[in-house]
Symmetry: C2
Subunit: 200 residues, 2 copies
């Protein structure tokens, strides 16, 4: 699928993406928090990281976000699969220098992980901004893949006396655990109600 709305929906629902980049011929994939704004994806990290330096220099990259929706248990080993939605984005980065865009990018990364949080958290100091590199990756090429629904077995296999179906899977939240040094008694609603369905 190349439908941008479908791709954006996957990017917005995902929490952690995997960023692929190459250093001296060796490809790497590293887990990254991120946020999308329009046709760009913001990434952040240490200004000293190999990844962020390569990204800021415009190296080709790939950000892949995969939502695992379930196991597909077929009657044959061959037709086992998973239900999932994934988006693969190709693009190159540019360093976001200090100013409004960088502030907004960092705000969006917090909001992406925990919508509602940015208004409560103390914003970055000048020193913290210096200690954080932000890279914007343009979505130059993107595609999505998905599988859903029951297993598709070979016709003869439907007669086998084997249970077949789906086991739905999702990233689920447990009960919030307060920091032992937290003086506020109740977690906010956006923490209590955090869930990772499609973003409204």
């Amino acid at each position: 699928m190349y439908d941008r709305d479908a791709i954006d929906a996957i990017l917005d629902e995902g929490l952690v993406g995997h960023l692929a980049f190459t250093v001296d011929g060796q490809p790497y994939a590293l887990p990254m928090l991120y946020a999308r704004r329009g046709g760009e994806i913001y990434l952040h990290g240490s200004p000293l990281s190999r990844l962020l330096r390569a990204a800021a220099a415009g190296a080709p990259m790939c950000l892949t976000v995969t939502l695992v929706d379930g196991l597909v248990l077929a009657r044959s080993a061959f037709h086992h699969s998973i239900n999932y939605r994934s988006a693969v984005v190709l693009g190159s980065g540019r360093l976001v220098t200090e100013g409004e865009e960088k502030d907004e990018a960092l705000r969006l990364i917090v909001e992406h992980a925990a919508p509602g949080r940015a208004a409560d958290a103390r914003g970055p100091s000048r020193q913290e901004l210096k200690a954080t590199a932000v890279v914007a990756m343009a979505i130059e090429e993107a595609s999505a893949k998905a599988r859903s629904g029951p297993p598709i077995d070979a016709p003869d296999d439907y007669a086998l006396p084997v249970w077949a179906g789906e086991l739905p899977l999702a990233l689920a939240a447990g009960a919030p655990v307060a920091d032992p040094r937290c003086s506020v008694s109740e977690p906010p609603a956006y923490v209590e109600d955090w869930s990772r369905g499609p973003r409204k």
Copy 2:
């Protein structure tokens, strides 16, 4: 961390990994089911896929498995993080040709996703074996990273009246959904009880 037991535990608990590889200078990360056996990781796919052909030809690759354990909500935006465990494995592949090793690799991939399933599912036919390429990736270099525990805030921020703590996250299973054409009434225990804690 470079401790092999810690790395193996992450690889064994993960369900989907992201495989990074480079084609004509463009890095890609693609989600993959996999299984570990000792110091090797088995991957499978269509014999026609660009990825499997590159992997079989010995191209350098990286398989990264990330377990998301929770959101870390600090008082400052800067100290927000996630709790996670990830393993990054570098290695190159070799094609696994037909025979006992290929049979076992495919069995292990099913078992990795749903332990207990391989004994119930019909094994691959000769034609299905031909339609599946298996690549073994040697774990040539591997490292793990992890974060756990509450947020670590800047000393002055502990006085802020902001709730802080962790929101535990995990891949959780819902109720099994039988294939509408399934004639077996009850799902097996390994489906009902599927969970993705550390493997015993």
